[in-house]
Every structure is written in structure tokens, then in C-alpha cells.
């Protein structure tokens, strides 16, 4: 049984003009110790999926359907207090901006000890020891001195290390990392990704890595899910999806990554932009931009079908002839 099973997840936003569906019929699994990358353009629903899993959808957003199971146990219908106990203890989260993720008025030690003691029955002294251990674990030099320092005394990269320590200090088995390196310097990004990968491997923790950086995905993830306009376009092993993408959208994404070579080539771009939630076209949501579009695409909405090692939602694989 997979660690996390998401089945037909739907996230809705009731507005005055009707209910908007930000995440539509998304299903995927995350195995024990696996890193699943989630990519897509801004507004594709990747962060929203992560927020739904951890139970932190901003109102009025809500789960409109489907199930989320952790270890086979449903967590999408837990009471707020039960869900609170799952957060941090079983599912950790890391957000984009380490500069604002830490409370400026408490020392990093206080924040670590607080998190540890919320979830684990420990004395203050034990929690302190464990917190200092975690600071060392995420590569912060002189952890026993840094323990008593405030977030503003740390650099951006160091703060993201503290954030990782905070997300992992109660030993959750799943981490949701929402663009964990976007706000960091390029030189620091690689370090943080390597660190995240290492601590997950060492503890056999799984991770959902939300990003729009294909390089990060290629280097870190075991499998990758591509999202477009609230739906899964394609999911599969990283090597397969990156090298032989099945969905025309994934192919377009791959083509738009600049390559360093002797002869500069023209960058392929996907024409147009992702539709807004209010006017998603009928049929396949990608049809206005798809280079391989044919008549059926405007009428039939493709479902996720097994293709090679993975799955793709495209009529090309449904035996419909163009």
C-alpha cells in the first residue's frame, strides 16, 4: 500500500460567479521514501494540491470531492484538531520563502523545541538536545550557539535549513515542499535540494516537491507529475517523462528549457497562456495551445491512461484517430 493515496481530488472555490474548480479529479500515489516532483505553470493547481493534502487550504477554498489517504487512513475528513495532530507529526511542510517562514520574535531554538514538544512526549532538556541535533543535521555550524539566535541573524540559505529542520523535527514520513528554493540564490538552491534529498533518504521519508524548476526535478525526484489547468497531464518516472514525454504539453515544457551548447538554438515556446479557471475550454484544456490538436480534442475531455511506464491524459493515447 502506498504511503499517500490521493484519489479523484477536487478543490473548489465558491465565488459570487459560481464555484471555481482549482484542482479537478487529480489522483496519484506517493510510495514510502519516494520523492514525487509536481511541475506546472503558475496557477496549474500544484500548490493547491499540496495545501489540500496537508489540510491548509485557505478559506473559502475547500475539498469538493475525492479522498486523501495516509497509510490507508482517510485524512481529508478529519476534525481540525485531529488534522492538526497529523500536521508536523506525520506530514511536514516547507514553504517558498524562508525569510518569512520563521517567527522573527522567537529564537530558532524556541521554535524547534516548541514543535518537538507539541508532537513528542519529551522534557525541555531532551527536546533541546534533539533540536541542537537537528540543527547540526541540516548543516548549521556551531548549532549549540545558533540555537539561541533569532531568525534575522541567519542568512537566507541558513534559514531554509532551519525551516527544513523544523519541518522534519517530529519525524514525519511525508514532506510537502512547496517551491523550497525559489526565493534562494542559485548557488544555495543546489545545497538546499541536496540537503532535502539526503534527510529524506536517511529517514526513509517521502516528499512531494512542488516546483517549476525542471532541473530540480531531474536531480531530485523519482517520479514527476505534470499539472495543467487543475488536472494531471502526465505522471511517470522522471527519466521517462523528461526524455520521452507522452503529453504534448510536457513535450512543450521540455522544449522550452534553454540548453547550453556551441550553437545557440531558437527556444521553443508554447504559444498562448494557460486558461483562467473561469474559462477552461471544453474537451482537453490544452487544446488551444496544442501543436497536435485535432477535432476530437475540442469535444472529449481525456482521462489519465497508462502510457509506457507512466500515464498521460491525452486523446492521442485513447485510440481516437485524428
Amino acid at each position: 500500500m502506498a504511503l499517500l493515496e490521493v484519489e479523484n481530488l477536487k478543490v473548489e472555490f465558491p465565488t459570487r460567479k459560481g464555484v471555481l474548480t482549482a484542482v479537478d479529479n487529480v489522483s496519484f500515489n506517493v510510495e514510502q521514501g519516494e520523492i514525487l516532483g509536481v511541475v506546472g505553470e503558475s496557477g496549474a493547481g500544484k500548490s493547491m494540491t499540496g495545501a489540500a493534502v496537508i489540510g491548509l487550504l485557505e478559506p473559502p477554498g475547500r475539498i469538493g470531492g475525492g479522498q486523501i489517504r495516509l497509510d490507508g487512513k482517510r485524512i481529508d475528513n478529519l476534525s481540525p484538531d485531529e488534522m492538526r495532530k497529523v500536521r508536523g507529526r506525520h506530514i511536514g511542510a516547507i514553504f517558498q520563502d524562508p525569510l518569512t517562514s520563521l517567527n522573527p520574535l522567537f529564537t530558532v531554538g524556541e521554535q524547534l523545541v516548541e514543535t518537538i514538544r507539541t508532537h513528542l512526549p519529551m522534557s525541555a532538556a531532551e527536546a533541546r538536545k534533539r533540536a541542537i541535533g537537528w540543527l547540526a543535521e541540516v548543516g548549521i555550524p556551531a548549532p549549540d550557539r545558533r540555537f539561541d539566535q533569532y531568525p534575522h541573524q541567519f542568512s537566507g540559505g541558513m534559514r531554509q535549513r532551519v525551516v527544513i529542520a523544523l519541518a522534519l523535527c517530529a519525524e514525519p514520513r511525508l514532506i510537502i515542499a512547496d517551491e523550497p528554493t525559489t526565493a534562494l540564490d542559485v548557488s544555495v538552491q543546489a545545497q538546499i535540494i541536496a540537503l532535502l534529498k539526503r534527510v529524506c533518504r536517511e529517514r526513509n521519508a517521502a516528499a512531494i516537491l512542488v516546483t517549476h524548476d525542471m532541473g530540480v526535478i531531474a536531480e531530485t525526484a523519482d517520479r514527476v507529475a505534470v499539472m495543467y489547468a487543475g488536472r494531471l497531464a502526465e505522471i511517470g518516472p522522471v527519466a521517462h517523462v523528461l526524455q520521452k514525454p507522452s503529453h504534448p504539453y510536457t513535450a512543450g515544457l521540455m522544449g522550452s528549457i534553454p540548453r547550453v551548447g556551441p550553437r545557440p538554438e531558437r527556444l521553443i515556446q508554447i504559444e498562448g497562456s494557460m486558461p483562467r479557471l473561469t474559462d477552461i475550454p471544453t474537451g482537453c484544456a490544452f487544446n488551444p495551445r496544442c501543436p497536435k490538436v485535432f477535432a476530437e480534442c475540442h469535444r472529449v475531455r481525456p482521462e489519465l491512461r497508462p502510457v509506457a511506464d507512466g500515464a498521460a491524459a491525452c486523446l492521442l493515447y485513447e485510440g481516437v484517430t485524428p
Binding site: I54, D97, S101, F106, E114, T118, H119, D148, Q153
Partner: protein, 330 residues
């Protein structure tokens, strides 16, 4: 920290010297003091004699120095009207104002902060919306109107509380307190409520606005993601961040409380410094006015300096001294 303290204290001394200078000039602006002392048909020789005896012929700077030196030792001269030392008059009146302002300040914090938190945490509740409307009324009604309404309802119609005075007071050393008798405490209720009403609504609205802002912050979202209890998130993480601007405003408003006390003391015939000041203005009692000015400025300066020091305790980012910053807590 030490450097900061010394710098702050030096600034405070400069402010006090400037205020003392203004107070000192008041004596000159309001006519030749000799005229107020000698009789109308005094000769020029008599006038000069008085002037020399009171050393009013010294250069301005020397007179100012003497004024500051005397003021520093608590000597503000003799009241023109009461013919008693101004310092004695102030000492007599100060406890009344201090107790009134203290109770009003405590009330505004003790009610304002919890109400602000409540309305921020339950923004759509009926009680919250009602409190918001009430606070709007509280913030827009002039305080003397609310004071008179309070007297009408609680003293005239209901007859529960006295409409004027401090009730019975007990002397503790030179300090006369109304805290120790039932009538003294009863007399405090209406004036302190009138005085605190504006601050109370201001603090409540400020706490609410700040709290709503802080609850949207990333570190609150991350605290939720760490599975912290709601109590810890609201009252530890959010409240502490909310309190920084509240401390600023409260510091400024505490000075405002002392200033507004003049109106409250007039409405309730409260025998405090404000009432003394109004009396002094009516009779052009310059030494009392000068002393009041210096006293109130001193209180302002003390409060503002304390607020600056308090920031350092609350917000670690402001602790400039590196040895201090790496230390534990405040």
C-alpha cells in the same frame, strides 16, 4: 545596550532643558513679573529695589540656569494665587491624577487587548460586529459628552456612583490614595472609564487590525503546518507580533491620557493636576503653569524612554549591540 541607554537619557535631558526654557520664557511673555509684585503706585526706585532683591536684573542665561537648578530640586517658586510653594500644590494634586490615569491605562489595556483579540479571531461573530460598532461610537464621541452621559445615567438616574470628587482618601506618607476606601474606589469608576474609553476603543481596533494582519503572515501558516496548537499560534506567535505597534501607540496615548485628564478632571471636579492647571490658567498663575508644563513633559519623556527600552525587550531585531543580540532572551 549601555550605550543605547546613555544616548536615550542624554536625549531626554535635552528635551527637558528645552521644555524648561519654554516654561521659563512664560514668565517673561506674560509681562514684567515685578509689576505683579509691587503695588500700582510704587516708585521706580522701589521697583528697582525689588528687581535687585529678586535678582531679576541678572542676564537671561543666569536666570534660566537658576530656574533649571531650582526646578531640578523641585522648587518652582510660590503660586501667585495660593501663596504656597508650587511644589507643595503639585505634590498634593499629583496622586489624584496619577491614580486616575493609572486606572484608566490599566482598564484600556485589560479590556482593549482581549476584546481586540476576540474580534480578530471571530471576525464574523455577532458579538464581534457589535463590539466593532460600539467601538466606532466610543472613538467618535467627544469624551466630555460621554462623561456627562455617564453622570446622567449612573449618578442622576440610578444614583449608584458619585458624580464628583475622589470620595474618602487615606494618606500614605505624602501620597493621598483613593484605592483604600470603598467611596474612593467608587468615585474612581466613572472618571477612569470616561478617560479610558477613547484609548480602549483605539487599542481594541489596533489589536484587531494588527492581529488580522499577522494571522495572514507566512510564519503563522508555517506554524500551522508544524501542527502547533491554535492556542500557541494565537497567543504566543501572533500576539507577540501584534504587541509591537500596540506598545508604540500605548506609549504615545499614555501621554494623551494625562492631557485628556484635564477634561475629565473638570467634568468630575476631580482634585488633580489638570484641575489645578485650569485654575492656574484662569488666574494667570504663571509658576503653576510652568511647573505643570515641566511635570507633564517629564512624564512624557519618561514614558517614551521606557517604550524605547521595551521595544528592545520585545523585538530582538532592534537589539543593536552584538553581544546583547547573541545573548539569551532579554
Amino acid at each position: 545596550m549601555f550605550v543605547f541607554l546613555v544616548r536615550r537619557l542624554l536625549q531626554a535631558v535635552m528635551v527637558m532643558l528645552a521644555v524648561a526654557f519654554i516654561a521659563f520664557l512664560m514668565f517673561r511673555f506674560l509681562g514684567d513679573p515685578v509689576n505683579n509684585i509691587v503695588s500700582q503706585d510704587a516708585t521706580q526706585v522701589e521697583r528697582e529695589e525689588v528687581r535687585q532683591r529678586l535678582r531679576l536684573d541678572d542676564p537671561l542665561v543666569i536666570q534660566y540656569g537658576r530656574f533649571v537648578a531650582n526646578a531640578a530640586s523641585g522648587d518652582f517658586g510660590i503660586s501667585y494665587r495660593n501663596s504656597r510653594p508650587v511644589s507643595a500644590l503639585l505634590a498634593e494634586r499629583f496622586p489624584a491624577t496619577a491614580e486616575l490615569v493609572l486606572v484608566a491605562a490599566i482598564l484600556s489595556l485589560a479590556l482593549g487587548i482581549p476584546l481586540g483579540i476576540y474580534t480578530a479571531l471571530k471576525p464574523r461573530g455577532v458579538l464581534s460586529q457589535g463590539l466593532q460598532i460600539l467601538s466606532l461610537i466610543g472613538i467618535s464621541l467627544p469624551t466630555f459628552v460621554t462623561g456627562i452621559l455617564l453622570i446622567l445615567v449612573f449618578s442622576v438616574w440610578l444614583g449608584w456612583l458619585p458624580s464628583f470628587g475622589r470620595g474618602d482618601v487615606v494618606d500614605v506618607g505624602w501620597w493621598s490614595t483613593g484605592f483604600l476606601t470603598a467611596s474612593g474606589l467608587k468615585a474612581l469608576i466613572l472618571p477612569s472609564f470616561m478617560l479610558c474609553l477613547f484609548q480602549l476603543t483605539l487599542i481594541m481596533r489596533l489589536v484587531r487590525a494588527e492581529m488580522l494582519e499577522v494571522l495572514r503572515a507566512d510564519y503563522i501558516k508555517f506554524a500551522k503546518a508544524r501542527g502547533l496548537k491554535n492556542r500557541a499560534i494565537h497567543f504566543r506567535h501572533a500576539l507577540k507580533n501584534t504587541l509591537i505597534p500596540v506598545v508604540t501607540i500605548f506609549g504615545l496615548q499614555l501621554g494623551g491620557l494625562i492631557a485628556f485628564a484635564i477634561i475629565t478632571e473638570t467634568v468630575f471636579q476631580w482634585p488633580g493636576m489638570g484641575a489645578l492647571f485650569i485654575q492656574a490658567v484662569n488666574f494667570t498663575d504663571v509658576p503653576v503653569m510652568a511647573a505643570y508644563l515641566v511635570m507633564v513633559s517629564l512624564i512624557f519623556v519618561i514614558i517614551n524612554t521606557s517604550v524605547d527600552l521595551l521595544y528592545n525587550v520585545i523585538d530582538p531585531r532592534l537589539r543593536t549591540d552584538p553581544t546583547r543580540a547573541t545573548g539569551k532572551g532579554a
